[in-house]
Symmetry: C2
Subunit: 156 residues, 2 copies
């Protein structure tokens, strides 16, 4: 498993980013079994855990918990090309799920740097605001995430 | 396992809520093994997966992925007292992690209704905005989540 601190990829400092920069992740395929397993542990509701009962819900069939889509997005980010020095650390963000993730979907994340800001109080770091769109194999956006990441500045 | 649509609890419609209403969840204890298992699958970074390497990171020890804290919060919400008719369905929200979750922590969620709004286009439903604070056993807030939930209106 590739680690965010893996030696294989170059580690990025705040100075290595620019607004508009884009990163594209690998893909992640998920099936009914994975959706049910995650939801049984973390989001036990019929539209996430019971393919038959799910047919009579507003989703019309089994869908992944939004938090499962979020976790898969994190996996794709952590193992993707945007390798921040010291790791990918976020203080939070804004998440939205415009469409559900369903069994058989193949997800991929595209991330754009939308703001870069050196810290005023901590000269050794800054904050990168990034917007990640998670799409399925039909190009439909299943999640948007805008997150503020702590990024070290390159030592002088 | 209690389901959000479980027959044991009364199912709530938009009319059953009021601004300022509060709900308190059960508790959830998590250990190092669970933190490593979640992170190995979804957030493979040393401060989430390797107790020894984690000591030399900005966290000073193993911490849970923020998405793990979010997933546990969802579990506590889904199995908690706020049983929305048809299930708890959110279109997204704003999440923040002011402090990390660590091995041995016992989490609990307190939710407050902060806004209620009937849908203009869909007379059968509305949107409840709720703010959930997830605290550890020392009362420290490890997550805040402000989410907009779709809530059916009581049939007339």
């Amino acid at each position: 498993m590739t680690q965010a601190s893996g030696d294989g990829a170059r580690q990025l400092y705040l100075e290595d980013f620019h607004v508009g920069q884009r990163f594209v992740s690998d893909t992640y395929a998920l099936d009914e079994r994975q959706i049910i397993a995650f939801a049984s542990e973390f989001d036990p509701q019929p539209f996430h855990t019971d393919p038959v009962a799910a047919k009579n819900t507003l989703f019309g069939g089994l869908v992944a918990s939004g938090w499962h889509t979020a976790a898969i997005t994190m996996r794709l980010l952590a193992s993707g090309p945007m390798r921040i020095t010291g790791g990918m650390v976020g203080a939070g963000g804004e998440v939205a799920w415009p469409a559900p993730t369903r069994p058989g979907d193949i997800l991929q994340v595209e991330t754009e740097v939308i703001d870069l800001r050196p810290s005023r109080s901590r000269p050794d770091r800054g904050v990168a605001t990034v917007r990640s769109e998670t799409r399925n194999q039909r190009g439909e956006i299943v999640q948007t995430l805008t997150a503020k990441l702590v990024v070290p500045r390159r030592p002088v």
